[in-house]
């Protein structure tokens, strides 16, 4: 929903919601409303993990349990104040969120499912078996409910409280997800390697997503335990984990309103089919399948589609200006102007018997355009991967701008000032062009988690500034008019340019381009020469891998040649062209003669 629409809609909805419990006197209906609210709170956080960060956890019943049992034990066994216990439940659940996050960081797909399932089951079993502490299936009674003064909450009070909590959660999540964090989570979901290359620490964001989802699920558990004044291990089942996932998927992951829709619909289905328990489960299975076929974006996606047709104004993105100021690259000064910007010594990498990088040493001079050429399989991309931190070298050192970066990972290297593009495009295809570039701004948007979530002015200011700069970068590369389009819908040549825009947004000192001309037609290749020259004129050092010899010859100040993982020649373009070793390496692969750069570029034959 656009900002203005939300500004009016939210207070109206809030008033409606808080008035609703007073209009209903049937306590059972109130209980259903309470449950809907509880599941919304859980799902809103869970959506961050599943819908945004894309980590499908099947074990969040365990986090719900962590919150529920914390509240239960603190009040029933230790007599703590129920409010303190309630908030403590959120904190404890958050800690458990870290526990489940750590093993989940390194695995994907079915293995991730397995790790999370395992976690959920272990928690369930501990609650069942360690009955001295957790009461097992007999459970814990006399859990203290929340109270105002001496009176414990009546059902209506619970509903009001949960609705209030829900409204707050909505605001917090909306604020968190509409800016830097939301984009970063989506990036982690779509393309982890690309995310790292723009300074997003995939590990850190996965852990944050786990923690957020854990806190909300834990609070949901505490609410249920305190309202029932009872908890036992039967509340914690694999079915509950599936239910959370169903709420998010059915409602629509990746949307703020998805969890809301999912929670309302599914809680009502749950409550009103309760008298026919097996029909109820059957309906879940059917709903799941139905949601997957008919509404892959969930209810929210389907309604958004309808809404766009009926109320187009509701969903407009802020319009793109037709002209912007010229992009000025601002970044910290280089440490050593005269010394090489980057110096790599003795890099070595082997994969079993294959050695793509065999004792390679290179030096990159500030302000120059360097090219890395060589036959296919010479190890060029591997070298780039080593320099940008995606692949750790077995041996050797890399010093960049005075600092040793050999041991650093991608996102750290990006922050120090190395940006890159990829041979196989790694755009965030489902996001807009503008969002892609905004992601590139990530490494120097230093506003923290809390300011973002609380929507503080510092966060919105930084967001505005980043947006303005992103538009200028797009203009610099001739993409301004496409800013609100979906990245994946652009023609191939423009997608490549977008990737470069994204890399430029990181304010790199050194820009690594991996085959920027691949797949471009001759016209586009010619334009690319101009683009690279403009980038260099902004003060950015460039290292590019290319097969298009005319591009290489036209733009490079310095050429490095690799063959079978070793550096066989380097120097000025003309020198390298004439080098017999180079000619021998290319013999039979390039059909054009190494002549002086022709005005008419011919496509490479490789």
């Amino acid at each position: 929903m656009s900002r203005n629409a939300h500004l009016y809609a939210f207070p109206a909805v809030a008033v409606l919601l808080l008035g609703l419990p007073f209009a209903v006197s049937n306590e059972f209906y109130l209980k259903v409303m309470f449950l809907a609210g509880v599941y919304y709170v859980a799902a809103a956080g869970f959506n961050v993990l599943v819908g945004y960060a894309g980590q499908k956890s099947l074990g969040h019943a365990g986090l719900y349990a962590a919150g529920a049992y914390t509240a239960a034990l603190l009040t029933a066994k230790l007599g703590w104040n129920p409010w303190v216990a309630f908030f403590a439940a959120g904190v404890v659940a958050g800690v458990f969120g870290i526990v489940i996050a750590l093993p989940s960081l390194r695995v994907k797909g079915p293995s991730l499912a397995m790790v999370t399932i395992g976690f959920g089951i272990v928690i369930e079993k501990i609650a069942t078996e360690w009955s001295d502490v957790f009461g097992g299936q007999a459970g814990i009674h006399s859990v203290l409910p929340l109270r105002l003064g001496a009176e414990p909450f009546a059902m209506r009070d619970w509903v009001l409280f949960v609705f209030l909590l829900g409204l707050i959660t909505h605001l917090l999540m909306r604020s968190l997800l509409s800016g830097k964090y939301g984009r970063a989570f989506l990036a982690v979901h779509t393309a982890e390697v690309a995310a790292e290359s723009v300074g997003v620490s995939v590990y850190r964001f996965k852990v944050i997503a786990f923690i957020v989802s854990a806190v909300t699920c834990g609070l949901a558990g505490a609410l249920v335990a305190q309202q029932n004044q009872y908890i036992n291990s039967d509340f914690i089942t694999f079915g509950l984990s599936i239910f959370f996932l169903l709420v998010v998927l059915f409602g629509g992951g990746g949307s703020i309103y998805g969890p809301l829709l999912g929670a309302i619909v599914l809680t009502m289905v749950d409550a009103f089919l309760a008298r026919w328990p097996h029909l109820q489960h059957f309906v879940y299975g059917a709903l799941l399948l139905f949601a997957l076929y008919a509404m892959p974006d969930g209810l929210a996606g389907a309604l958004r589609g309808i809404g766009r047709k009926i109320f187009p104004r509701l969903h407009e993105r802020p319009p793109v200006p037709t002209a912007v100021a010229e992009w000025q690259l601002q970044r910290s000064e280089l440490l050593h102007k005269e010394a090489p910007l980057l110096e790599a010594k003795g890099l070595y990498k082997a994969y079993g018997g294959v050695v793509p990088t065999n004792d390679v040493s290179i030096a990159i001079r500030t302000g120059h355009v360097h090219s890395l050429i060589g036959p296919n399989g010479a190890g060029k991309t591997t070298l780039l991967n080593i320099l940008s931190g995606i692949v750790p070298p077995d041996r050797g050192t890399i010093v960049f701008n005075g600092a040793d970066i050999t041991e650093l990972v991608s996102n750290q290297i990006c922050r120090l000032g190395i940006g890159r593009t990829f041979q196989n495009l790694k755009l965030f295809a489902d996001m807009t062009v503008l969002d892609n570039v905004l992601l590139g701004q990530h490494p120097h948007m230093d506003v923290g988690f809390w300011p973002c979530m609380l929507g503080l002015r510092s966060a919105s200011r930084q967001e505005r500034e980043a947006r303005e700069e992103a538009l200028r970068i797009l203009d610099f590369l001739g993409l301004l008019d496409k800013a609100n389009e979906i990245a994946g819908s652009l023609p191939y040549g423009l997608q490549r340019r977008l990737e470069m825009a994204r890399a430029l947004a990181t304010h790199p000192k050194l820009l690594l381009l991996d085959e920027p001309a691949a797949g471009l037609n001759p016209q586009e290749t010619h334009e690319l020469i101009g683009v690279i020259a403009r980038v260099r004129d902004k003060g950015i050092t460039v290292l590019l891998i290319e097969h298009h010899m005319d591009l290489v010859m036209a733009i490079s100040d310095h050429v490095i040649v690799l063959d079978y993982g070793a550096k066989i020649a380097e120097g000025a373009p003309a020198q390298v062209q004439a080098n017999p070793k180079v000619i021998a390496a290319y013999l039979g692969e390039e059909s054009e003669e190494p002549a002086a750069p022709a005005v008419q570029p011919r496509p490479a034959v490789a």
Partner: protein, 305 residues
Amino acid sequence: MEAILQAVLSGLALGGVYALVALGFNITNNTTKTLNFGQGEFLVAGAFIGVTLVLVLSGKGHTGVLQPEDVTIVKYLTGLAAILVVLGILGVFLYYTAVRPFVGAAGLAWVMSTIGFGIIIQNTALGIWGPAPLAIPSPLGNEVIRVAGAGILPQEILIFVVSIVVMVALDLVLRKTKIGKAVRAVAHNKNAAALMGINVPAIVILAFVVSSCLAGLGGLLIAPVTTASVFMGLVLALKAFSAAIIGGLDNPRGCILGGFMLGLIESLIGLWHAELREISIFVLIIIVLVFKPEGLLGRKIVEKV
């Protein structure tokens, strides 16, 4: 001492069932990079169809009670035949409704769809047979066989033998026959296999049929030991899945190894501290996945950037 032997024997029998189901996961994972998260319910379906057929052949209704003399080897095998047919059909159905629409789609939609399919099967079974477990005496009799003081049921020996035979047979088929080679080709590279003239969709369907039949067979084998209950599928499938992940989801021998290992570990830990049985298995899985995400015998996939 005999308690340990007891645990080992029971563990091997249980492990046989895990290995069969794990092998089913391996086959579909290799050919389509998906697996049936509702596999447990297929196991349940297998058990119930088998029991019902024997009941019907013995002249009793589908919720009758089987006496030991009712369950002859002939009827048991007929039950097996029925299972293979029905589950094969279910496997095809599963593929078309829950897997094919979502293969390659981002977001693991096939996990949810196969879970949903499983839920529907479970509730259909619940509607037909009700919640009470159905007992089926073993066709080999219920007399406990004593081995050095430890007791083992003939059915447990049957499970072990059958699972070994099936696994060896599948291994031979995969390695020595033309169709086996076709399956392995599809597993390596679908497009290349298609270009070589292999009917990839047919192979994929075959994979799902075999996988479902393995689950059904597992259900029929385990029913005389643990009774057939509509609720038994989930935990069994999760354990079999864990076995596959530990052994290496993409390696059939790994899956088998994982299955037996898990059965043994579960049994031995159960002997020591019964309540830690399941906790220990799942903690073990988490640990294995952290240190060796590809499983013990799995192959590390190097992603090309």
